[in-house]
Structure formats: C-alpha cells, structure tokens
Amino acid sequence: MRKILATIIAVTSLGYSSAFAGTLVINTDLTDPAPKAAFEWAFNKFQEENPDVTIEVNNFDHEGYKQAIRNFLTTNPPDVFNWYAGNRMLPFVRAGLVEDVSDIWSDTGWVDGNLTEGMSHAKKPMTIGGKQWGIPYTYYQWGVYYRKDLFEANGISVPTTWDEFVAACATLKAAGITPITIGSKYLWTTAGVFDYLNLRTNGYEFHMALTKGEVPYTDPKVHAVFDKWDELVKPGYFLENHASLAWQEAIPPMVNGEAAMYVMGNFSVALFKEGGLTNDNLGFFQFPEITPGIPMAEEAPTDTMHIASGAKNKTDAKRFLIFLSRADVQEEMNKTLGQLPVNSGSKVDPDPFLEAGLNMLNNAYAMAQFYDRDAPAEMASEGMKGFQEYMVNPDRRDKILERLEKVRQRVYK
C-alpha cells in the first residue's frame, strides 16, 4: 500500500516535472524480480546511449496496474507504458489513449534496420485498424510440458498426432497416473486447452473469426472442438477437483509423479524446477496435430510497450521504443526474463525449453494471443466460465454453447 501511495505521489508530482524536455516518464507493473532486473538493465543501457534523456519510472503493483492504467492514461499520461497485444489494448486504442506508432514499423521510418523484417510475425497482434500501436519486446510459448521419465516407464513416445496423444492418455490412466493436470480455479488455464484444440481442429483463421465474434458458438466447427475435448474429459484424463485449484496448485501432482502432462505456458518451468524437476525428467512438446494439413499456429502471448497519446515527450518515447525493438536489446532482456525475444535476429540462452519454444514459434504459421487476449474481455470471461463448467460437466455442452452464443450476440452487436 505504501508503495502504491508513493507511486501515486510520484505520478502526480511528475505531471509537472515531465514538462521539461529530456525527461522520459515510464509507467510499468514490472515488480517481479526477473522483469524488474531486465528493465533496469534496459533503462540503464538506454540512458548510457542517450545521455540527454532522464528516465523516470513509476512502478505499479501488478494487479493494481490493471486498474491504475485506466486512471493514469486518462488523467496523467506517462510517455511510455507497458501492456499487452491483441484485444487487450483495444479499449485504450479505441478511446484514443494510445499513440499510433506505424511510422516505427514502416520501412522508411525511424529505424536504421528494418523492423518489419525482424518482427513481421508479431505485427498482426499489434495492428488495429491497419495501424500499429506499440512494440512487442517479449513473448513465450505454450505447449505440453510432460514428465519424460513417466512417459519412458510406460513405453510412450512423444505424441505428434491426436490419436497418439489420446492413446498416451489411455496408457497413463491405466497405469494409475493422471494423464493431464490442470488447475482451473482462475479459469484461464481452460482457455489454453480450448485454444489449442481449436487451433489444431479448425486452424488459426477460425480462432480469430471466433474471437472476433464472426462465428456463432453453436457452429458445427465449435462442436467439433468439443468432440475432441470430450475424448479427454469423458474418460477422466484431467486432474480431479481441478475447479478448486489455482494453476500453481496443479503443479505438485506432476512433481510428485501422480500426473504426467500440463498444457501450459513456459513461465511454468520455473515452478516445475522449484518443485525439484530437472531438464532430465521435465520435457516439452508441441501440441499434437488434430486435423491433418492445417498449418500449425501457436499460442504466444506477447508483452508490449506503448506510447500514450497524451505523452509530453513523444520524441524520446519513440527513441525508447525503437531501442526496445533492437535485436541486441531484446536478446539481453529476455535472457534475464527467461522468455523469448520477439525480434528474430536475437538469440536465446542454451535452455532446452527456450530453444524448443523459439524453434517452434519461428516456424509457426501464426501466433494467437490467447483466448482472453484475442476475444473482448466480456466474451472471454463468460467463455472461460463455460469451458470450466464443461470440463466438470461435459454433458452440459449444448446448454453452455447456447449461453455463450447469447453472450456473443450481445457483446459484438
């Protein structure tokens, strides 16, 4: 609380000081140790290269930031702030609070190199109405994390097709191991499973059409996704009582060897390793193919930096964004973050999970931002409630999809 108060005081007092040229005000929520260290490095490096600029950072608490951003963007905008790609930035863009930075992205723009080349694969999620509204600096892959030793002990090899995946679940279940662990208390984990089933059954274009509200939830293609989901839910391949567990609380079963797989983001690796797993018994594989021939798109939620439309120092703000998009900067920052640089010119640390992720994403057909970032907030929250209810009561599928359809018609009208 004291920290928040301090930041509020800092923010209000900055309203005056930032009027001076050369001061760059940055609002962030990067209070976790790794992001904090990564950004401290970036701020120092930027100041080294641009001695005429003074950086002022207002650090917010991560949860509080989601509320605070609405206030500071309207009343006391900083020059630069961090946020997320896709639909998450839409309300702010629509309200005219975010600065258009298409010139940074365009070939003839500010950058010495060619930004569009190095980050073309990440351009789509940054684009609203044909314009770009920020710079992505990090992302991470989603996929299946699994216990190598449990797979070996049961004679299972890494599944690459849906049939192999279901067969692997059946074998594990028969051996008394929960095939897939999940903690759905905070809902979003269910969306990871839904997104992958959808991306693999119907492809990226359908995922985008669905999250943009162009397809009814009662569509046969949505039912096809749930048919596949049925094959996992009905035989009980997911962890019991998952609705009362947070995502972290679903990790111990896997660490203890009671469960074998987790459809998750790469940030989970740190927790797995804290629990005692190592590179020898923890592995990662791409979510297997379902409909043959559909290009493999992946989930890769992207963190981004933006300029506020009310920024007082837009020149230095753009310099900072350009700095942040550079391959060497992203490489160094992501080493500290333990995530993947977006710029394809950056390298990653020799870590099996990062290498696997980088390899997978660089070859990905397209990148989804995650259900709750691609769909509008309202639709996402109802959708994920529905997914959770379905995972516990698969026979309510029709009722749930009808309800989601009702929500879709209201949200996108």
Partner: protein
C-alpha cells in the same frame, strides 16, 4: 441603567433570534456536506450510470432501461440473487450460536478471560486471512480432502462443487460473525438485572423457562443488534467470495455484491452501466430492509422503550 436599554435592541438581531435553531445546523454542516458528497450523490450517480452503456473510457451511450431488461434474462443474476438469500438464511445461525457460546463463556472460573479472548479472536483477524485459511482447509490437497480420503470417503473439494460451494463460503463467513454475536451477547449478559433473576428463581422458574422468560427478554437490545449486523454482513458478503472462489466454479457462488464488482470493475469487466444496474437492485433490497429497521426502531421509541 443605560446599558440595559441597549441589550434588548441587540437581542432582536436576526442571529440572536435564530441562534437556537441555527446552531445544530452549523454543527451538522461539515457532516452533511460529507454525507451528500460521499453517500447521496454517488447513489444518484450510480442510478444514472445504470442507464448508460459505458466502459469507463469511451463516451457513454444512453440506453434507457436496457441494462435492467438484460438483467431479467441473466442466469448469473438469478444465481447471485438466490445465493444472497442462502447467505441471509444461513448467516442467521451466527446469532443463536453466538448466544450459546456467550452463555457458555459467561462464568467466573480461572482463566476465563483468556478463553473469552480466544473465542473472540476470529473477529479480530482480517476476513481476508480467514478466507485464505478456509480455502486451504477445503483444498483437495489441504486438510479436509486428505482426511476424507483417509477414512475412505474419497477426496472431496467443496469449493469445486457447484451445489455446495456457497455453503462452504458461508461456513467460513459465519466463523467471525459468531464471535461478533458472542461479544454482543456477553456485554448483554453483563448488564442483566440480577434482581429479576432472583425474583424469577423464587417464583420457581429454572432451566429453560428461566432463560426464555427472564433472561432472553432482557437481552432484547443485544439480539436486535446482533440480527441487524448479521443481516448487513450477509448482504455485503463480498470479501469471502472474492477470496475463496471469485464467484466460481463457473459463477455458481456469485452474490450480488461480487457480481457487481465482476461486471463493473474486474479484469474482464468494465461494463459500468450493467454493474450499476446490479448495484441498484442490491440497493433496493437493502433499502427495504433498512426502512423496516427504521420503522421498528421508531415504533419502539414511541412506546418509550
């Protein structure tokens, strides 16, 4: 006495004439201003916002009563309303249980002060802490689940069960409420008129009839207060829900206060208009209750109690 002729003249100034009537208003003024700014104005502003479609950032659109019409067709609204009623009914158990504990603890033996404070402890610690502790208890890997498994009943997580999760939360919410009612009754028991009890004893009252006819009537003010705070506590049962389930599983433990927060202010919300419409409904329910309460108070004061 030249001065005395001047005084009546001064007394007839407007201020002097109205001093008696004005003074209370002058003293009330700061409080009234705060009350208007922080209570009355927000009420009417919320009612106004409930007629808008507004995300807090973009320009608001006037939509008339469509938020309320949507509310009538909203499954989660009815779930929340029913859960509020469950809260109202089961939360009332705190009153008799608190009374029972108060009577049990109303003794003079060695160390009773310590025991009393231990019983009062749940009310002192934060609701947030209680919520977190109970969530741990209920966790399938916590205390109750493994215990049930050990005695062969199978692992059960009440907070993941749509039919019973609300009762799990109410149980956690009642825990500090019992302590609150208990302390109200303990102070009530301290002020009992011993003469009446003596007289009752002489007339042959004992046991339950002594309790029912002599003690309980004397505890009426405490009972009244206990019921009032319990009803209010149950209607604003927000914190426990927010901490223990966030309305889940799939919205089955929502109560109006939390549903309002979820739609208007949570990460996925920002439908200010719709949230305000829910707030208006909750406000109406509370208003009925408060009016009834004020009426009762007025009636009993008229009787000179």
């Amino acid at each position: 006495m030249p001065s005395s002729t001047q005084i009546p003249y001064r007394k007839s100034s407007w201020w002097k004439l109205n001093q008696q009537r004005l003074t209370p208003w002058i003293f009330l003024f700061p409080g009234l201003v705060l009350f208007l700014v922080y209570v009355i104005w927000p009420i009417f502003n919320s009612l106004y916002i409930s007629l808008l479609q507004w995300d807090g950032l973009s320009p608001a659109i006037y939509v008339g009563f469509s938020n309320y019409i949507e509310l009538l067709d909203d499954e989660y609204f009815y779930i929340s309303l029913i859960n509020n009623i469950k809260w109202l009914i089961f939360f009332m158990l705190a009153v008799p249980i608190g009374l029972g504990l108060a009577i049990f603890l109303n003794q003079t033996i060695f160390g009773i002060r310590l025991i009393k404070s231990l019983f009062f402890f749940p009310f002192v610690i934060s609701q947030v802490v209680i919520g977190i502790i109970f969530a741990w208890f209920y966790n399938p890997r916590g205390v109750i689940g493994p215990f049930l498994e050990a005695i062969g009943l199978g692992n059960y997580a009440i907070l993941a069960d749509e039919d019973f999760a609300t009762y799990g939360i109410i149980f956690a919410g009642i825990y500090p409420q019992i302590a609150y009612c208990m302390i109200l009754y303990l102070t009530g028991l301290n002020n009992l008129n011993t003469d009446q009890i003596e007289a009752g004893r002489m007339d042959g009252a004992k046991g339950f009839s002594l309790f029912k006819n002599i003690i309980l009537p004397q505890l009426r003010p405490a009972t009244f207060l206990a019921i009032v705070v319990t009803v209010i506590g149950s209607l604003r049962s927000f914190d426990m829900v927010a901490i223990m389930t966030q309305g889940g599983p799939w919205g089955s433990t929502n109560v109006l206060a939390y549903y309002m927060f979820e739609t208007a202010l949570s990460e996925y919300g920002y439908r200010m208009g719709y949230g305000s419409a829910i707030a208006a409904v909750l406000f109406t329910i509370m208003m009925f209750y408060i009016l009834f309460f004020i009426y009762r108070m007025y009636q009993s004061e008229k009787k000179g109690l």
